[in-house]
Amino acid sequence: MENVTESIGKALHDKFGDALVKQELIVDFPTFTFKKESILDVLTFLYDFEIYKFQFLTSICGVHYPDNVKEEEFCVVYQLNDMVKNQRIRLKVYTSEAKIQVPSVTSLFSTANWLERETYDFFGIEFIGHPNLTKILNMDDQPYFPLRKQYQLEDETRDDKDDSKFGR
């Protein structure tokens, strides 16, 4: 897996230069971190990459790192598969809380439509260029993005809970 990461990494570096921020192998999962502006180009490149054709977008999800340095509080993670050669990779882009925007990849993968809506619904990450960026799972008038770590895990409307009975 080392050399897979190396070879993909080299090709990506040759093509995108500094936009490739970091490459690493996490257990057996080649992972590449990019500047967010380049994500659509990277995915387009990987779609017709000569070694592996990453033509299947398995998932997009958000992550909130409240303790990260400024500009990198939010992360969007893309997982892609080459179904023929059974190879997967993970791409990451970071975005700041102040300007929480990432380019949409719906023009390349239709499946990104719902995945990006879900990520928007739960983290409030805006995907620029998405045709219909509205909430998908939560109720429409939910006033906040629940998976951001600034909220309590438990429902805040409860007033009947006695902490001593929950071992706290």
Binding site: L137, N138, M139, Q142, P146, Y151, E154, D155, E156, R158
Partner: protein
């Protein structure tokens, strides 16, 4: 009726007892409340609003082994407009809350509500942003059946509790100011 037939009826078939009243040759006098209560309580039409695991337990309750039909609730109504009893069984997410409320509003008075299981009663294990913490936050509930999930015996017990309420309910209750106030507290006209 021959005594033989009477014996059979008394031994095998459970017939509800007549309410208290004055009986004589050819007549029987009692209060309207009691007669209506008797009729209503023994022919409840439940509307199953089953969203998750508790709904599975309700299927067992309706099936031959436990057979809710024995208690006069043979006929499930899948239209709220023809139902007497709304049985909410399962986790109600906040997104689904308006639907539950709308179903309740579509039911004609008199209507009763049974919350089955921890989720419907209090949110249960799902103490989280997406789940309604008990349906009594949006509609009035008459009987709560605890458990996760409750056994069919418990559900039947809950239905019998509802029947008790139904049987004793005064005919004027639904037009009383207290009842209007209760509905108003839920924002229902």
């Amino acid at each position: 009726m021959s005594t033989e037939n009477k014996d059979i009826i008394e031994s095998k078939v459970n017939i509800t007892k007549a309410p208290e009243g004055i009986e004589g040759a050819g007549f029987f006098a009692t209060s309207l409340d009691q007669v209506v209560g008797l009729a209503r309580k023994n022919s409840l039409w439940p509307l199953p609003f089953a969203t998750s695991c508790c709904g599975i337990e309700f299927m067992a309750t309706m099936a031959s082994h436990y057979d809710l039909g024995r208690f006069g609730s043979e006929r499930l109504s899948f239209s709220p407009r023809q139902a007497d009893l709304l049985m909410v069984m399962g986790t109600i997410s906040k997104k689904l809350a308006p639907v539950v409320k709308q179903v309740y509003l579509q039911m004609a008075e008199p209507r009763w509500v049974l919350a089955m299981g921890a989720c419907a009663s209090s949110g249960g294990i799902f103490d989280t942003y997406s789940v309604l913490q008990g349906i009594d936050r949006i509609i009035p509930v008459d009987v709560y059946v605890p458990g996760c999930p409750p056994r069919p015996e418990q559900v039947i017990d809950g239905i019998l509790k509802v029947q008790e309420l139904v049987g004793k309910e005064s005919l004027r209750r639904r037009s009383s100011p207290e009842y209007k106030e209760l509905l108003a507290s839920y924002g229902i006209e």
